[in-house]
Symmetry: C2
Subunit: 228 residues, 2 copies
């Protein structure tokens, strides 16, 4: 649901237009905007609460503090893809190649979605801290799911462990590169990008262009059939 257009960078008055967001979502949205534009250290909980149109004390009803907000935002960039990956790892249909395509497509779409470039939060110096261990663990599990899906493909079955790890790393990197691409105004159209990245990811993984196109077609068919 598109929200009402808002002026960015100033606290909103209490009579602000209804954004359709819950107070919790308002707080996450405000924190995301401020962390992405001013960084973590320079953002106060007071500024976050003000931007979300509530008192600082009320904020603590929803989040334990700034750290909790950043942890929630970071985890939100991987949790939906990890859930999808876990689901499709346990299935045998469609073929592994098409399932890898589906994961790449969904993950790219997730990183490209939303008003704020949440993937950019990965590069905050604080994001590397042990206090965000749950995010790191989920991201590592997601990356491992890419590796396991790749291992289940015909190409992956022929690779040694080191090469498999390397190719999964490159595929994961290609998907995450949309984080950097969001900084560019001249980047190709958002709508088509997730499928184009997924097509490219299969070629990068080592499928021949023809096999990659076939797996992409199977992935698209699966999507259009309404299955998830």
């Amino acid at each position: 649901v598109p929200t009402t257009k808002r002026r960015v960078g100033r606290p909103r008055a209490d009579d602000r237009p209804d954004t359709g967001l819950s107070p919790r979502e308002e707080l996450l949205d405000a924190a995301a905007a401020l962390f992405v534009s001013h960084g973590y250290a320079a953002t106060s909980t007071r500024a976050i609460a003000e931007r979300a149109g509530m008192r600082q004390a009320s904020m603590y009803h929803y989040f334990a503090g700034k750290e909790d907000l950043l942890a929630t935002l970071l985890e939100g960039t991987v949790a939906p893809s990890l859930e999808l990956a876990t689901g499709i790892l346990g299935r045998s249909e469609p073929a592994a190649e098409a399932r890898l395509w589906l994961l790449c497509r969904a993950d790219t779409a997730l990183l490209g979605a939303g008003r704020h470039n949440l993937g950019a939060l990965y590069l905050l110096p604080e994001a590397g801290d042990a206090r965000f261990a749950s995010f790191h663990e989920q991201r590592a599990r997601l990356k491992d799911a890419y590796r396991r899906l790749l291992a289940a493909t015909a190409v992956g079955a022929g690779l040694d462990e080191a090469e498999l790890t390397l190719r999964a790393h490159l595929v994961f990197g290609l998907v995450e590169s949309v984080i950097l691409a969001r900084r560019e105004s001249a980047a190709p159209g958002d709508a088509a990008l997730p499928e184009a990245v997924a097509d490219g990811a299969l070629r990068l993984a080592g499928l021949s262009p023809r096999d990659a196109a076939r797996a992409g077609a199977a992935g698209r068919k699966h999507l259009r059939s309404g299955a998830s």
Copy 2:
């Protein structure tokens, strides 16, 4: 040349060990460390000068200010690759596929080199400003060089304009993904990564795995022959 190990995050005394860096390089190194860890807005020219072991007034002998330092750092992440790209675009040897491989390899190595992850500066909110137009222009020219090299390959010659632009965008994204990968401790060995990225970039571009391996072999041979 590896510099003497230093403690990070505190200004160095005037009797600091000789790092082998010129005052100008000391300033760039100090600015890079502070911009990457604290962001642009929170970093003062005084803190940069102190970290470089000089007075603030002396700093202005080398740089016009903070903006000049960030512009210089940003341009340093693209200028060497743009120079290489311009050189190899004008040549006919080795084949376009191997030249694209050489560009991907060199660009990946550049982004992976150095003590600081300078590519992370792309995601600073300030980096998007018009005052860094020269950096944006050089980066756009570099991306266009990727596109032109890809167009000169056998695969690229068969693509329409939109698909050519898209694939160049993906290849450029794969190379830049090393910026995000540098945040990970578990990333595959740095030394082998530039060539692995270049191999993958050719597959991503649309070469068959066999043709990509051949072009990679030609690129490696060209490198080992001492040509640049």
